[in-house]
Amino acid sequence: MSRIARRFAKLSAEGRAGLVTFITAGDPDLSVSAEILAGLPKAGADLIELGMPFSDPMADGPSIEAAGHRALKAGTTLRRVLAMAAGFRKGDTETPLILMGYFNPIYSYGVERFAVDAVSAGVDGVIVVDLPPEVDAELRVPAVVAGLEVIRLATPTTDSVRLPRVLDGAGGFLYYVAIAGVTGTKRAAIGDIAAAVARLKASTALPIAVGFGIRDPESAAAVARYADASVVGSAIVDRIAHGLDETGKPGPALIGDVLSFVASLAAGVRGARVQAAQ
C-alpha cells in the first residue's frame, strides 16, 4: 500500500477527514521553508503539498504567484525542491508528500529523471496543473513506472461526460477544485461542495480532497464534514507573506505563526465530524 493510501486508511479508521497543507518550496527562502515543512506534521498536517515554483503560474491567484516569485528570487530550483523533499523525508517516514506545480520545469529537468529522482527523494505523488488527462501520459507513464502517483484534478466544469476521462488513470486521491477560478480568490457554497463530493464518490473509490477557497478553521471544518480531506494553500502562504519585514526578510515570529495557524486548521478539521454529530 502506498504512503498516500495508508494515510487515508488511517484517517478513515479514525473517523475523520485529513488536512492537506500547501506551501511553496523556497518561500520565503530555502532554509525557512524547510523548517516550516519539517514542522507541518506536528502542527497537524496529514498530507503535504509542496509547490514547485514557476515563473508563470496561470491557475494561481496573487498569493501563490507572489510566493513563487519569492522562492525563485531566493534561488529555488527544481533540484533544490527535490533536495528539500529528501531532507523532510529523513525526519518523517509517514506523512505523504506531494509536489505540485506546472509542467515546464519538469519537462526542462527531464520527465523520466524527475520521476525517478522524486521517488528517491521520498515524494509520493505529483499534481501538475497544466497537464489535463488528454496530455498527461508523457508524465504519467514514467511516473507510474517509477512509483510516483499522478493526482488528477476535477473542477465544477468537469461534467459527467468528462469525469470518466479524469478518473481513468487517476492515482492517490482526487483533488476537487471547488470553484471555477484561480487559487485564493472566490469561495464555494458548502452545499455545492457537498453535492460535488457526493457526485464524485458515486464514480470513484479514490479519496476526495477539496481545495480552493478554504481560508480558516471554520471553512476547513465545513468541508471536512463531506470530503476526505480539506486543502489549504493561499491562506497559509498569506501567513508567510505577513511574517516578512519591509525588506522581505522573515521576521522572528514567522515560522511559529505559520505553524500555529496550521494547528488551528487541524483542530477545525479534526473536530468537524464530532461537532457535526453532536
Binding site: D56, M58, T77, L78, G181
Partner: protein, 407 residues
C-alpha cells in the same frame, strides 16, 4: 504525437486530432479550462464546415475590414537596394491598421455562434486589443482587454482607442508586465468566468484549436497574395519575409505557400539589443522547446525551465514564445528564422517612411530590415514579398523617444 521525420507529403495537414504539429502544440491547460477549449474546438469545426459562416466572414472582411489588401510594388525600396523586386502585402491598410482584425472577426463570429456575450483578450502592442475591442463594439459584446503596465505606458494611443471603443483595459502588474503576463491574466480571467466568456487569442499560439484557428483566419493574407502575385507577375513569389512574435501574420502569409517547394520563407524574430546580449525576443534562435500558455513550443527560458523576459522595442514582438506550427516548420527546415535588432528595425522604419511614404509599425519594420539585408544580393527578377502587417501610427511616440525627439 508524431516524431520529427523526413519531408512530409504536405506541410499543410497539421495539427493532428490532439492539436500537435509534430512535437509541438497540444492542450496544456488547467482542467477548469479543458471543457471550454473542447467546446471552442467543436464550435470552430462546425463553423468551418458551414458555408454560411464563410459567407458571413467574407462579407465582413470585404465591407468592414476592406479586404483584399493591395499587393504593392515598392519601387523606391527596390531601386534603393538595387536587387530583388520588393513587394508589400499591405495589411496595414486594414480597418484598425493591422492584420489582427482578420482573426478577431473570425473568432467573434465563432463566439456569437456559441452564444457568448463577453470577450476577453490579451494585448502587447495594443493592435490585437484594438481589433478585439472593435469587433466587440460592432457585435454588441462586452469586452475586457488585459495589457501589461509597461505596454500601457508605451502604447498610450491604443489604450485610449480601446477605451473609446467601449472596452475595459485591465493593467497587468505581475511578472515582466508585458504580453506574456497579459496572457497569464487573461487565462486566469477565463478560468474565473467560464460561462459567458470567449477568449480571443491574438496569435497562432495557445491551446489547440487556437493555433490552427488563428492560422486559418489569417491565411486570407497568403491566399490573396498568391492570386495577386499571379495576376501581377504571372508566377509565385520567390521569397516571403514576415516578422514573428507569436507569428500570426507570418503564418497567415506562409501557410498557403508551404507546399510550394520553390518558395523560400523567412521568419524574422525580434533580436532586441542583439541575441548575444540575452536581451531579445527571438524564441527560435535563442530559446528551446518547453510548455507555456497551453502549448509546447520554443520558449525563452533558463536552465530550470523558468520563463525569462523577452526584450524588444516592439511591444507586439515582446513575447518569450512562438506559435507551435512555426516551431515544427523550423525543425522541418521548411521556414528559416533570422533575427533583427531594435536598431536595425528603427533604421528600416525611418527608411520606409521616407522612401515609400508609408509609416510601418515597428513589428514589420523588423521584416523590412531583413529585406534590406538580402534584397541587394538577389537578382533583379527575384520576387521578394514582405508582409507589411501593421501601420506605425501607434509607434510614433516610442520612436520619437528613442530618436531623442520631444513631441
Amino acid at each position: 504525437m508524431q516524431s520529427v521525420s523526413a519531408r512530409p507529403n504536405t506541410y499543410r495537414a497539421g495539427p493532428d486530432e490532439e492539436g500537435y504539429f509534430g512535437l509541438y502544440g497540444g492542450r496544456y491547460v488547467a482542467e477548469t479550462l479543458m471543457p471550454l477549449i473542447l467546446a471552442v474546438e467543436k464550435a470552430y469545426s462546425q463553423a468551418k464546415a458551414d458555408p454560411s459562416f464563410q459567407a458571413e466572414l467574407d462579407y465582413y472582411l470585404r465591407d468592414y475590414v476592406g479586404r483584399p489588401s493591395p499587393l504593392y510594388f515598392a519601387e523606391p525600396m527596390t531601386r534603393h537596394y538595387g536587387g530583388a523586386k520588393i513587394y508589400f502585402k499591405r495589411d496595414e491598410l486594414n480597418h484598425t491598421g493591422a492584420h489582427k482584425i482578420n482573426n478577431c472577426l473570425g473568432q467573434a463570429l465563432v463566439a456569437r455562434r456559441m452564444g457568448k456575450t463577453r470577450i476577453i483578450a490579451e494585448t502587447g502592442a495594443g493592435q490585437h486589443g484594438v481589433a478585439t475591442a472593435t469587433v466587440a463594439a460592432r457585435f454588441g459584446m462586452s469586452c475586457t482587454i488585459y495589457m501589461g503596465e509597461i505596454d500601457i505606458a508605451r502604447q498610450k494611443p491604443n489604450v485610449f482607442r480601446m477605451k473609446l471603443l467601449g472596452a475595459e483595459v485591465k493593467p497587468v502588474s505581475s511578472g515582466s508586465r508585458t504580453l506574456k503576463d497579459a496572457m497569464n491574466e487573461a487565462l486566469r480571467a477565463w478560468v474565473s468566468d467560464v460561462e459567458d466568456t470567449f477568449y480571443i487569442i491574438g496569435t497562432v499560439a495557445g491551446p489547440h484549436p487556437y493555433p490552427a484557428m488563428v492560422r486559418d483566419f489569417q491565411s486570407v493574407i497568403g491566399k490573396e497574395a498568391r492570386e495577386q502575385m499571379q495576376e501581377r507577375e504571372g508566377r509565385l513569389p520567390d521569397t516571403l519575409v514576415a516578422a514573428i512574435g507569436g507569428g500570426s501574420n507570418a503564418m497567415g502569409l506562409f501557410h498557403p505557400f508551404l507546399d510550394e517547394d520553390a518558395v523560400r520563407m523567412i521568419g524574422v524574430e525580434a533580436g532586441g539589443g542583439g541575441v548575444e546580449t540575452g536581451r531579445h525576443a527571438a524564441s527560435i534562435i535563442g530559446g528551446r522547446p518547453g510548455v507555456l500558455h497551453g502549448n509546447r513550443t520554443y520558449l525563452l527560458q533558463d536552465d530550470d525551465g523558468q520563463i525569462t523576459e523577452a526584450h524588444s522595442i516592439s511591444a507586439g514582438l515582446d513575447y518569450p514564445g512562438i506559435g507551435p506550427e512555426h516551431s515544427w516548420l523550423h525543425d522541418q527546415g521548411r521556414v528559416e528564422f533570422v533575427s533583427v535588432t531594435d536598431t536595425e528595425a528603427l533604421d528600416a522604419f525611418q527608411l520606409c517612411t521616407r522612401l515609400e511614404g508609408i509609416i510601418p509599425a515597428l513589428e514589420p519594420s523588423h521584416a523590412l530590415a531583413h529585406v534590406g539585408k538580402i534584397a541587394g544580393d538577389l537578382p533583379k527578377d527575384h520576387l521578394l514579398l514582405m508582409n507589411l502587417c501593421g501601420r506605425g501610427d501607434k509607434d510614433i511616440f516610442a520612436v520619437a523617444e528613442r530618436l531623442g525627439f520631444d513631441i
